[in-house]
């Protein structure tokens, strides 16, 4: 026997629909979704690539801190990518039993896949130096390019960059420089002659530390997302985004600092007491510098700055992964080349299976994973946008139309950044973009 029920009345929207070119995406964000459409394949792709990204990232953050804290001002840092065992075994601060603030379920040690790759590489087991010279290794150059983007752009909010110019910072750096070159009259003489040169190097090393501490958080986040997905935990793209939003809030207040260890003594160039926090001094500048801005990639495409092909204002730069052409001929974005090569080593089997089924299969896996990475970074950016909205504006289920209008204006302002023809936001709306 069947019964007839009256159709459920849909709730009338409190504000009229957006007329923005990306109205569909804006409505999705207002409904708690991501810029990336919620499809099973998108979920599979982004989680798979988070896992592939997390493994080299586990090396990046360790080596960035090693360079910032130990290599420091070595004038010939030829072995800066040859991370010491101490740093390779350095416990993650947010995962593992020894962590001072365990938030994520992973272990504190370097990931086993990373250790295996460092030992065997793509080729065979051989001394570290040979792996390095054969370029059979993790591309730290990618991490350094991200650091340089953060260091160069500056002025992206927060107090970190202002502090680098402060007298307190200069005094701390001065102590460290003098301690590092103690007994080296040549370098001390150079420091006397060109103090700004060394100071600028220390500022850059502080940015190394900043990015290292940022990725120390992100690596276990991505590992855990992969584990949850493998356990059948995520039901859709919004779930994955919400996990990131929650993660951002969980560590938002963690300290960003720069300590240097010289002769067994710790020099606090940026002490924790300055109160620099993970969200405002690392995460947001990182997203702005690396996802949006970076700089014209030094690939095969030339840019003529005098012809206006490069914006005059740094804030208008649009060469990040959200705009990048993933073909490794350059043209935009840091990630297309070196990171793609790094992630290629750690793809989960289900992602490889997807790639086999499309375009040139295994032959152009590198490109397909680059586009997956682009999708996943749109999801991360969505998480950041939602986190900012959450921190600065109103809940999505707010009933005050003025508040919803404020949220709308915020989302529309964010989407305005993707009105440039280079933006890949329209591309990622379809599954055909591979």
């Amino acid at each position: 026997m069947s019964t007839t029920t009256a159709p459920e009345r849909t709730k009338a929207p409190l504000i009229p629909p957006s007329t923005h070119r990306y109205a569909e995406v804006i409505h999705r964000l207002e409904a708690g979704g991501s810029m990336l459409p919620d499809t099973p394949e998108n979920l599979k792709q982004i989680i798979g690539i988070y896992k592939a990204y997390a493994v080299p990232m586990d090396f990046y953050w360790r080596d960035l801190l090693y360079i910032a804290e130990r290599v420091f001002l070595n004038p010939l840092p030829a072995f800066k990518y040859f991370i010491s065992n101490e740093y390779l075994d350095r416990p993650n601060s947010y995962a593992g039993d020894q962590s001072p603030l365990r938030i994520w379920r992973g272990t504190e040690k370097a990931h086993p896949e990373l250790l295996a790759f460092m030992e065997w590489g793509e080729t065979r087991r051989m001394p570290k130096l040979l792996h390095h010279l054969w370029h059979d290794r993790v591309n730290m150059e990618f991490a350094e390019a991200c650091m340089q983007a953060m260091f160069w752009h500056q002025g992206m909010g927060g107090r970190f960059n202002d502090y680098l110019e402060s007298d307190a910072y200069k005094a701390n750096a001065d102590r460290a420089i003098k301690a590092y070159f103690k007994g080296n009259p040549l370098m001390l003489g150079l420091y006397k002659l060109f103090p700004d040169m060394f100071l600028e190097q220390v500022r850059q090393l502080s940015t190394y530390a900043n990015l290292g501490l940022f990725w120390e958080v992100m690596a276990p986040v991505f590992f855990e997302m992969s584990d949850i997905y493998d356990e059948g935990g995520f039901k859709g793209v919004p779930d994955a985004m919400d996990f990131l939003v929650n993660g951002i809030f969980a560590v938002a207040g963690r300290p960003i600092y720069h300590h240097v260890f010289i002769g067994g003594e710790c020099f606090e160039i940026i002490p924790k007491s300055e109160g620099f926090t993970w969200l405002y001094e690392a995460a947001l500048p990182y997203v702005e510098a690396v996802f949006y801005r970076t700089s014209p990639f030094r690939g095969t495409k030339s840019y003529n700055a005098q012809a206006g092909q490069v914006p005059g204002n740094q804030a208008d730069f649009h060469y990040g992964i959200l705009y990048a052409d993933v073909y490794p001929v350059g043209s935009a974005g840091i990630p297309p080349t070196l990171l793609m090569q790094d992630m290629l080593h750690f793809l989960p089997p289900y992602l490889k299976e997807i790639y086999k089924q499309h375009r040139r299969g295994e032959e152009d896996e590198l490109i397909q994973l680059g586009i997956t990475f682009q999708r996943s970074m749109y999801n991360v950016t969505s998480a950041v946008i939602q986190a900012l909205r959450c921190a600065l504006l109103y809940p999505l289920d707010d009933t005050d139309p003025k508040h919803l209008q404020a949220n709308r204006a915020f989302f529309e302002a964010q989407m305005d950044r993707f009105l440039r023809p280079e933006a890949r936001l329209p591309d990622i709306q379809t599954q055909d973009y591979r």
């Binding site: 073909y327 043209s331 375009r359």
Partner: protein, 498 residues
């Protein structure tokens, strides 16, 4: 026997192909085996030169099956067999109506071989005309969107070429006191007056000027080359057009040396115009096949210049250029065909970033870079050797046309760089770049041709060794000074064979 096999092997195979099942892979394989067999026979003939063959055929018409090989024809026989084999290899495996297609390809080959092997002018004309039928059909049936127009234009122009040549050959007999039996030996010993030679040379120039082609008789070439299917374009550009140069060498310089000497300055001037016209038009083209077609037209100007100069060095340059350009143009058409097959277009504005290692056509574009460099005369490749011989050999006779041709050689680099820059570099459009990469089967013909282009560049004897002894007696001037030696007794066939 070798000569008969060279000529009749493709005939037999072409007639036998319709007996095979249409879908059988053996259709393609048989055609390939026939062309490779012919190439092997050519190599055998090179190592063991066969005796000339003379069989009575249609005595009422004075037609004899006079076949032979000398230093002028052997390189062309080898080139013809090689390009035919590469053209068969470059044909897609899923070729529609394969039996007819390959039979017509072999039919074209028969016409070419007949022309190169002929030692009798009437037989030469017959074979020359024979090329027209299968080639027209190949263009008309398997050509591009404008294939009907291309086929009609090709047919019209080349029919005029054939008829003009027939008129010239018949006029040889009518005008020569006592007549001739149309054998090459007889034609080389004619007793025509200078004025009669001028008339005949005019006909010969028109006939082979269309085939080469020469401006302003080139109307068929850009359209036909651009509309012909890739293997046919390879044959047309690589061998059929070279028949024009071969004809001018035989009928112009060898049979009518006095008239040739009289008009050579004009011929050199036309060659220079040809070179500049072809190169400038190539620069303006927006479609790859048309660009290659005009490039070929320009290079034919170099041939004409070297023929006009007729010094021992320039004539070596002619033979080297015939071989080098035959290989290079066939390679270029092969590569453009691959680009077309994969991307679905050869329009230059629609293509970019094909050098992309992951989703482009890096192998094809890499070879195309080599081919374009060879066409531009970059050292280390066959084009350089040929152009050096042409320019150095022609300079003593016609310095100004030589300089003009050198200038046009510079323009070659312009359109080569322009083409490669636009098609190879730049951003690959991800939305369009959804094509498979080339497989080894598709790469083989391009690889073989590239290898030979490189061999010709580092071992010049490969280009000139076969013909050196045959071109030297044909020279009308010395290489080191402007000394006309046309009045020397005409060479005989036996001398040529030596």
């Amino acid at each position: 026997m070798t000569l008969l096999l060279l000529l009749f092997l493709p005939v037999v195979v072409a007639c036998g192909l319709p007996l095979l099942p249409a879908e059988s892979p053996w259709v393609r394989r048989t055609a390939l085996l026939a062309s490779l067999g012919q190439l092997a026979l050519g190599l055998v003939a090179w190592r063991n030169p066969p005796e000339d063959l003379s069989l009575s055929w249609l005595p009422q018409l004075g037609l004899r099956l006079d076949l032979g090989l000398d230093g002028l024809s052997l390189p062309l026989v080898l080139l013809g067999a090689l390009i035919t084999a590469m053209a068969v290899l470059a044909t897609p495996k899923a070729q529609s109506r394969p039996r007819l297609f390959y039979a017509l390809m072999l039919g074209t080959n028969v016409g070419l071989m007949g022309s190169f092997l002929a030692r009798n002018a009437l037989l030469f004309v017959l074979a020359y005309e024979l090329i027209l039928i299968p080639t027209t059909l190949l263009v008309a049936i398997w050509g591009g969107e404008r294939r009907a127009g291309a086929a009609i234009r090709f047919l019209t122009y080349n029919a005029v070429s054939g008829l003009t040549l027939l008129a010239a050959v018949l006029a040889f007999g009518w005008l020569n006191p006592g007549g001739v039996d149309f054998s090459f030996g007889d034609l080389a010993h004619h007793n025509l007056t200078l004025q009669q030679q001028h008339w005949l040379l005019a006909l010969v120039l028109v006939a082979f000027g269309i085939k080469l082609p020469v401006v302003p008789l080139h109307g068929w070439q850009p359209l036909t080359y651009s509309q012909a299917p890739t293997p046919v374009a390879m044959l047309l550009g690589g061998v059929v057009s070279k028949l024009g140069a071969y004809g001018l060498l035989r009928f112009g310089i060898q049979f009518l040396p006095d008239a040739w000497s009289d008009w050579s300055s004009w011929i050199a001037a036309i060659g220079a115009v040809n070179a500049i016209y072809g190169a400038l038009n190539a620069i303006a083209q927006l479609e790859m096949r048309r660009l290659v077609a005009y490039s070929s037209l320009g290079h034919m100007g170099f041939l004409l210049l070297a023929l006009a100069a007729a010094t021992p060095l320039s004539l070596q340059g002619v033979m080297a250029q015939i071989l080098a350009h035959g290989l290079i143009i066939a390679l270029l058409f092969c590569l453009v065909g691959l680009v077309d097959t994969k991307t679905g277009t050869t329009e230059i504005p629609e293509l970019s970033g094909l050098l992309n290692a992951q989703r482009g056509l890096p192998f094809t574009m890499g070879l195309m870079l080599l081919a374009l460099m060879a066409a531009a005369g970059v050292p280390g490749q066959a084009g350089f050797v040929a152009e050096l011989l042409v320019f150095q050999g022609s300079w003593v006779a016609y310095p100004i046309p030589t300089l003009v041709c050198l200038l046009s050689s510079g323009f070659t680099a312009v359109y080569a760089v322009r083409l490669f820059n636009r098609v190879g570099f730049g951003r690959l459009d991800n939305a369009k770049a959804n094509w498979a990469s080339t497989n080894w089967g598709e790469r083989v013909p391009a690889l073989v041709l590239t290898a030979l282009v490189l061999v010709g560049g580092i071992w010049p004897t490969f280009l000139t060794g076969l013909s050196e002894d045959a071109t030297a007696p044909l020279a009308l001037r010395s290489s080191d000074a402007v000394t006309v030696i046309a009045m020397a007794p005409p060479t005989t066939t036996s001398e040529l064979s030596a």
